[in-house]
């Protein structure tokens, strides 16, 4: 049976890293990932099968969908970290509202207030400064995350960092929305 064939990647290979021929890890060669993604797409993309039969077109769409999803996750540091934690049996999204350190939450409140103020004043300069501040904080968290995930393999500690990054990401999304309101 086909299920028993060792070549059946889609069924047996659930790991996004392996799909692109990469070692699982937070540190990642972005160039290699992009190169592998493009090489695979060049062979399986629906544009390669536009004139083929239904079965092949469907298989191509399913595969490309899967490859796009894997690429999306590995390309984003936060999603990649969450995914690594998942591979190691830790769900970073759980307990989102608990166990956040008080100083972090205070800082979040400050940032959020700054956002509301910039929005009320319709001040794009203030939004830009806020974005820069957010980027800095998120960079700091990301380097700490690399340390916890790759060197120490301290997954609970990494999960805490991921939760912080998810907070910052949400704020970043709100920042985008604020920019958009000003554009409209």
């Amino acid at each position: 049976m086909a299920e028993a064939r060792d070549g059946s990647l889609q069924r047996n290979m659930q790991n996004h890293f392996e799909l692109f021929g990469l070692e699982p890890g937070y540190a990642l060669d972005a160039g290699r990932l992009e190169h592998a993604y493009r090489e695979i797409q060049a062979k399986i993309h629906p544009d390669r099968f536009a004139h083929a039969g239904d079965a092949e077109r469907r298989a191509s769409m399913e595969w490309t969908t899967r490859v796009n999803e894997a690429y999306r996750i590995l390309r984003s540091p936060v999603l990649r970290a969450r995914y690594l934690l998942e591979l190691n049996g830790v769900d970073a999204a759980l307990e989102t509202n608990t166990a956040m350190p008080a100083d972090f939450l205070t800082r979040q409140l400050e940032l959020r207030e700054a956002l509301e103020e910039a929005e009320a004043k319709r001040d794009p300069g203030a939004l830009e400064r806020l974005r820069a501040a957010l980027r800095d904080e998120s960079e700091t968290l990301k380097s700490a995350l690399g340390e916890q995930l790759d060197a120490r393999r301290d997954y609970p500690a990494a999960a805490g960092l991921v939760r912080k990054l998810m907070f910052l990401d949400r704020l970043d999304t709100e920042l985008d929305a604020a920019f958009e309101t000003m554009d409209d």
């Binding site: 086909a2 064939r5 070549g7 059946s8 990647l9 889609q10 799909l19 692109f20 021929g21 190169h35 592998a36 493009r38 090489e39 695979i40 797409q41 060049a42 062979k43 399986i44 993309h45 629906p46 544009d47 390669r48 099968f49 536009a50 004139h51 083929a52 039969g53 239904d54 079965a55 092949e56 469907r58 298989a59 191509s60 769409m61 399913e62 595969w63 490309t64 969908t65 490859v67 796009n68 999803e69 690429y71 999306r72 985008d176 920019f179 958009e180 554009d183 409209d184």
Partner: protein, 622 residues
């Protein structure tokens, strides 16, 4: 540019006859058809050598239909039956069309999409667009000497699901096999990128007759990757004309006029606007049916002043696209201008000011989309591309979501996701013993359902009775390479499986398409049966071809028993093809398709492995 050197998984290894494939730019104002000739993308002109086909359709009382220049010549005398800019109505309801009161037509608000009352009966925008496509198809078939294998049809990147589906339906109605719906700015990027061997990040600024798109693309080693797109599907040259008409009425101190005079003023306003591209001043004169004259003079300054708010409307979407791409204007290597409306000087100025560089105007903004579509059609049809190979990675322009409690939208697929894509979300029951759940899919960026476009409502029934919160209903949104959505809902907590697949509901049903086909054939003295037979034959031949190639290349992936099975069904299909039983051909093709599913999946596996193996060798060589 160093293009990808890749083997073609689906391509026939043996050289064979070129497949007839075309690219069609179905524009608001003008439409074009193009094809590859001796390795060069070429616009196919009409018998009088004119490349454009005005997107104008006139219905006559004797059931005749005029399309293009003939219709254009009569537009001011018969505005109600002469439909211009029908693209603005595709997939739209009455309330979606801005300033609909200025339109001369009698509208009927049908569910999902409005319709127009004409002397030839009620017509859907899909039928009207199909008339334009039929003319282009005939032009291409005469020029290429036979039936088309298929066409790439371009759509504005910012078209939503309803507008895309309507466009695809129009092509089906015109008897065109759609190889792909391709975003207009992406088509332009292919033409520009291949012509100029461009590498780097480019913006395509596409302002057409009725739609505005801004796309940010990364061009690198034969890959065209759309990083972000934005736009306004109801902003284009038409709006500038409309503004001019209003201005001329104010200047001449006239009240709103009857339909014929309004259309006349529109034509004159467009002429004045076009004159201003090369001159500082343009006359706008018209003799109205009342005998009164409109005689005003339009200066560039006035034109810019009264339409500045329209120019401004392109800026917000452009900033959003840049932000979504995570880029700054300084990261953009060039801005490619597409669409006739980009000829307006204040548009050029606005783009120059925003991007702090001169926009690229070295391509014909009317033709570049059709040329790019022809290049892509050639590749999709399986012909050997000239000058290497390339790959397109495009995105979905608007977020897709589902309605949750309180009329809020839960986003499932965010805008600018690379397609094809799929995302799933789990929902549960909130009452004990609940056996059905209803869902509402929407598209748009706003938080409230009422501010988004409704795509589909559907119900999942047959959920086994359980306590509240125990059911696990997985709703999956799948967007295909045309940017079209389908939705699956599946209850997965119990062995009993309730599942449903829906396509959004505003498109035409198969029955409607069949009725429209029948209507059109009555007049064309053609025969639906013959048409279906022909289509099934073409599909069957394509499938047989593809399976033969697959067996030759990758036959070792399956057992000899599986191979024998496929070969038997292939032979069965082949024996049916010359016959005249369209049902038998369809059944044989379906059977072969089913039998090759496993094989297709294994071939995809093998392709991924080959891609990685190639890469590892490349790594070693580095």
């Amino acid at each position: 540019m160093a293009l990808l050197q890749i083997s073609e998984p689906g391509q026939s290894p043996a050289p064979h006859q070129e497949r007839r494939a075309v690219g069609i730019d179905l524009g608001t104002t003008n439409s074009l058809v193009a094809t590859m000739r001796s390795g060069v993308a070429t616009i196919l002109p009409d018998t009088q050598g004119r490349p454009l086909l005005p997107s104008i359709v006139r219905y006559l009382p004797d059931s005749r239909v005029e399309v293009g220049y003939v219709a254009q010549a009569h537009q001011t005398e018969d505005p109600k039956n002469t439909i211009v800019s029908v693209k603005r109505f595709m997939g739209r309801g009455r309330k979606d069309v801005p300033y609909i009161e200025n339109q001369p037509y009698d509208f009927v608000d049908a569910p999902g999409m409005l319709q127009l009352c004409t002397v030839a009966g009620t017509k859907s925008p899909v039928e009207i667009s199909a008339e334009i496509l039929k003319v282009l198809r005939a032009r291409a078939e005469i020029s290429l000497g036979g039936e088309l294998t298929g066409a790439v049809i371009t759509v504005p990147a910012y078209f939503d699901d309803a507008q895309r589906q309507a466009t695809k339906d129009a092509a089906t109605l015109a008897g065109i096999h759609v190889l792909r719906l391709l975003n207009e700015p992406t088509a332009a990027a292919i033409a520009y990128g291949l012509e100029n061997a461009a590498e780097g990040v480019y913006a395509v600024f596409d302002l057409g007759g009725g739609t505005f798109d801004i796309s940010i693309l990364k061009l690198s080693r034969g890959v065209f990757e759309v990083l972000a797109t934005n736009g306004n599907a109801a902003l284009g040259g038409d709006d500038f004309d409309q503004r001019l008409v209003c201005w001329a009425l104010e200047e001449a101190k006239l009240p709103p006029l009857e339909a014929r005079d309004m259309r006349l003023l529109h034509v004159k306003a467009r002429e004045a606007k076009e004159t201003l591209t090369a001159h500082g001043e343009a006359p706008l004169t018209a003799r109205l049916s009342s005998g009164e004259f409109v005689d005003v003079s339009l200066s560039t300054e006035t034109f810019c002043r009264i339409t500045q708010h329209l120019v401004q409307k392109t800026i917000g979407p452009t900033r959003k696209a840049l932000r979504d791409a995570g880029l700054d204007v300084d990261d953009i290597k060039g801005v490619v201008m597409v669409g006739g409306a980009t000829r307006m000087p204040h548009i050029q100025r606005a783009v120059r000011d925003l991007f702090r560089r001169d926009p690229l105007n070295n391509l014909d903004p009317d033709k570049v989309v059709a040329l790019g579509a022809a290049m892509q059609a050639n590749v999709l049809a399986g012909n050997q591309p000239t000058g290497g190979d390339w790959l397109l990675l495009d995105v979905i322009p608007l977020s897709l979501g589902i309605e949750t409690m309180g009329g809020l939208v839960e986003r499932i697929i965010p805008r600018n996701s690379t397609i094809p894509t799929a995302r799933a979300q789990e929902f549960t029951t909130f009452k004990d013993g609940q056996t059905a759940m209803s869902f509402h899919a929407v598209q748009g960026e706003r938080e409230l359902v009422s501010d988004c476009r409704s795509l589909a409502r559907f119900e999942l029934r047959g959920i086994p009775p359980m306590t509240a919160g125990a059911a696990r209903v997985l709703v999956t949104f799948q967007v295909d390479a045309d940017g079209l959505l389908s939705i699956t809902a599946k209850e997965k907590s119990t062995g009993v499986e309730a599942s449903i697949v829906v396509k959004p509901s505003y498109g035409l049903t198969d029955a409607e398409i069949e009725r429209m086909l029948r209507d059109s054939f009555e007049h064309a003295r053609d025969d639906v049966q013959a048409r279906v037979l022909q289509e099934n034959r073409v599909d069957g031949e394509r499938l047989a071809d593809a399976v033969r190639v697959a067996l030759n290349r990758d036959g070792e992936l399956i057992s000899s028993a599986q191979r024998a099975d496929i070969e038997r069904l292939l032979a069965a299909l082949q024996s049916m093809l010359p016959g005249s039983n369209h049902r038998a051909i369809k059944q044989a093709a379906d059977a072969l398709n089913r039998a090759t599913e496993e094989f297709a999946s294994l071939r995809m596996d093998a392709n991924v492995r080959k891609a990685l193996a190639g890469r590892r060798i490349a790594d070693l060589e580095r």
